[in-house]
Amino acid sequence: MSPAPPDAEDLRERVRSFLADHDPSAMDRLEFLRARFDAGLAWVHYPPGLGGLGAPRALQPVVDEEFAAAGAPRNDPERNAIGLGMAAPTILAHGTEEQKKRFLRPLWTGEEIWCQLFSEPGAGSDLAALATRAVRDGGHWIVNGQKVWTSMAHEARWAILVARTDPDVPKHRGLTYFVCDMTAPGVEVRPLRQITGEAEFNEVFLTDVRIPDEHRLGAVGEGWRVATTTLMNERVAIGGNAAGREDGMIGVVARLWRERPELRTPGLHDALLRLWVEAEAARLTGERLRQQLAAGAPGPEGSAVKLAFARLNQEISGLELELLGEDGLRYDDWTMRRPTRVDFTRRSPGYRFLRAKGNSIEGGTSEILRNIIAERVLGLPGEIRVDKDVAWKDLPK
């Protein structure tokens, strides 16, 4: 019988004794993070040996708070959102023991940044229609194709990649999931400039890229099933950060309202209060979702959280510009930059307004999320599928 998983008190005790042996102020940052991982105090709900202790997920804050109080270095999760939020749970669920051992530690410490090579020019919402081909060559796969809107590809060491290994079967069946080395020959990353002026995402061209079969995640032809794990985690990751009241975009506008009485009008007051209510409702919904996850009964509310988050960010940032009036006409900087982290609330109001437009597109558009809720949660009839039984190679493109 395996021992009972640790409770909050055990965890606090473990962190304290870890800190007694590892003084964060006297140690190299990376060495400290690696040791924290090896002690099972990275993501405590992961299994022992892989940065965790098999503890309830709900206890993670206990550990994080102890480390924060001790002034320990962070693993800087904003730099590796895709790695932590999507690649890691997918590797954990579908990877071999060797893959888990190889990839999870440097992923968690932030030594290796990850990106997501899913979308293509011809396959966004309809991801399963993607055309990037992977052809077997002995112990390797040769990959050719083009990916697009790939966030942080310019920072990434590794990518999660879905490619077509069998064009002769219907689209969902011919896919395989890989881990792709972004430094491999044939991987070319080109910046793709966004409406904000900067390039957080990229086009990625894959030309005869060789991926060893050991870097396949899941069975050949099972790529769609593996990708589903990634996509489900993506929605939780995008909408679901723990947050206090007024932590997000609404806090920025609320503070502006308090500090600048001369900007106030009755109409904007009404709009602000409505959004405050919605933002707080969305925050509590996210909190309830986290409690469900912690209790081991995740609900379908993740989609609701993401849907609400996108609309709210857009409306709140739009309100902020109107409230600012004349200042709302100005923008901070159109220079083409290459950001290394995504933070929706940073920079200027104009940036927030523009960046928020991406929230209803990235990670599944709001329309696709509504389809998913209507069909999977409410059980309404599915869309008419003209492509269901057609071999991928025969689909109109």
Partner: protein, 365 residues
């Protein structure tokens, strides 16, 4: 952070209440009841308040209750909302009971007398005699005068007033208990005939003071507003369910109408608002249950959000049923009337947003 989930006990409680309501007041009976003289459904009331003991949930055991809390009461409210049950639960088991509990907390003794226990057992029905549209922050008792142990005045639009044995009347100096038989009550033809109003005239009626000042009545209104949010949640969920069922089985143009995105997406949005309504209603119930310092914010938030969600759900229910949804013989209108009345009851969303503006420091222009 406050627990926003349901406990196993609450799930069991929900099942019990749902079964009792299925038995005693299916919507066909509710509909028929709207045209009868009886002010409420006595069989459903006996089942929920009496047999299942739901009226006494927030009342301590030593005062004749079940010693649970407003959290469990909120679950009962969800079920009552689902069924648009015509029972005086919000009025008696929430508003009047909360007023007496608050009176006892401040007076430190059995200020409620035997009445609290009688309400807890569902033996008697009491109502807080205020216009049902009163918001927690409104001035109270302005239409009633006190003189030598009697009350004189008028209170309009009192919810479940015709069902009441006792009226708890806010008046200058405190909250007064009046025997309902001594008051002159006139039934009002109400928008929501599943929770009827009456106008109350008090012509020098003997009264007993149960609480000093306004605090007890105010606490009752805050608790009532929190519990009403859960009723609105239950109602909205039921409207969504009925609508989804209909859209799956109704064919037009050779397809179930539920396969059209124009409808699917609206229902997905509705489901999203209901998921949010559940989070805010649970939060409000949890706050009133323990007297959390954030209670006033939680309640105003819950009312501002849930009122609108319930109305939207009922409106979508009518619209997506097409012609049949506009008929008297379909339950959609029961939900619509209840939802719209509930949105006005205990403060409109706009009034609650105005309270929030004060509470969270977002002053008006």
């Amino acid at each position: 952070m406050t627990n926003l989930l349901y406990s196993e006990i609450e799930d069991e409680l929900r099942d019990g209440v749902r079964r009792a309501l299925d038995d005693t007041c299916p919507w066909t009976d509710v509909l028929a009841g709207t045209e009868k003289d009886e002010p409420y459904d006595a069989a459903a009331w006996r089942a929920v308040a009496g047999r299942l003991g739901c009226a006494g949930l927030p009342v301590p055991e030593e005062r004749g209750g079940a010693g649970a809390s407003w959290r469990e009461t909120a679950v009962v409210m969800e079920e009552l909302g689902r069924a648009v049950a015509p029972v005086p639960f919000l009025s008696s088991a929430v508003l009047a009971t909360a007023a007496l509990l608050a009176a006892e907390r401040s007076a430190g003794d059995a200020a409620g007398g035997d009445l609290l226990a009688e309400l807890a057992e569902g033996e008697k029905i009491a109502v807080l005699a205020v216009p049902f549209s009163t918001a927690p922050g409104d001035q109270l008792g302005t239409t009633v005068g006190v003189e030598g142990g009697t009350l004189t005045g008028r209170v309009t639009s009192v919810a479940d007033g015709m069902a009441a044995d006792v009226l708890l009347v806010p008046a200058p100096g405190g909250l007064y208990a009046v025997d309902a038989a001594d008051a002159r009550r006139t039934p009002v033809t109400s928008l929501d005939m599943t929770r009827r109003l009456c106008d109350v005239a008090l012509p020098s009626v003997p009264a007993r003071r149960v609480a000093e000042g306004e605090a007890a009545a105010r606490a009752a209104l805050v608790t009532g507003a929190a519990m009403l949010a859960s009723e609105q949640l239950g109602l909205a969920e039921r409207c969504l369910e009925i609508t989804v069922e209909h859209l799956k089985t109704r064919y037009q143009f050779g397809r179930p109408v539920g396969s059209y995105q124009g409808l699917k997406h609206r229902l997905a949005d509705l489901w999203t608002s209901i998921a949010q309504a559940r989070a805010v209603a649970r939060y409000a119930a949890a706050c009133v249950a323990v007297g959390d310092p954030d209670t006033d914010v939680a309640v105003a938030l819950a009312q501002a959000h849930c009122s609108a969600v319930a109305v939207k759900a009922a409106e979508e229910c009518v619209q997506m049923h097409g012609g049949i949804g506009f008929t008297w013989e379909h339950p959609a209108h029961l939900y619509l009337k209840r939802a719209k009345s509930a949105a006005i009851a205990l403060g409109t969303p706009d009034r609650h947003r105005a309270s929030l503006a004060r509470l969270v420091d977002l002053p008006s222009a």
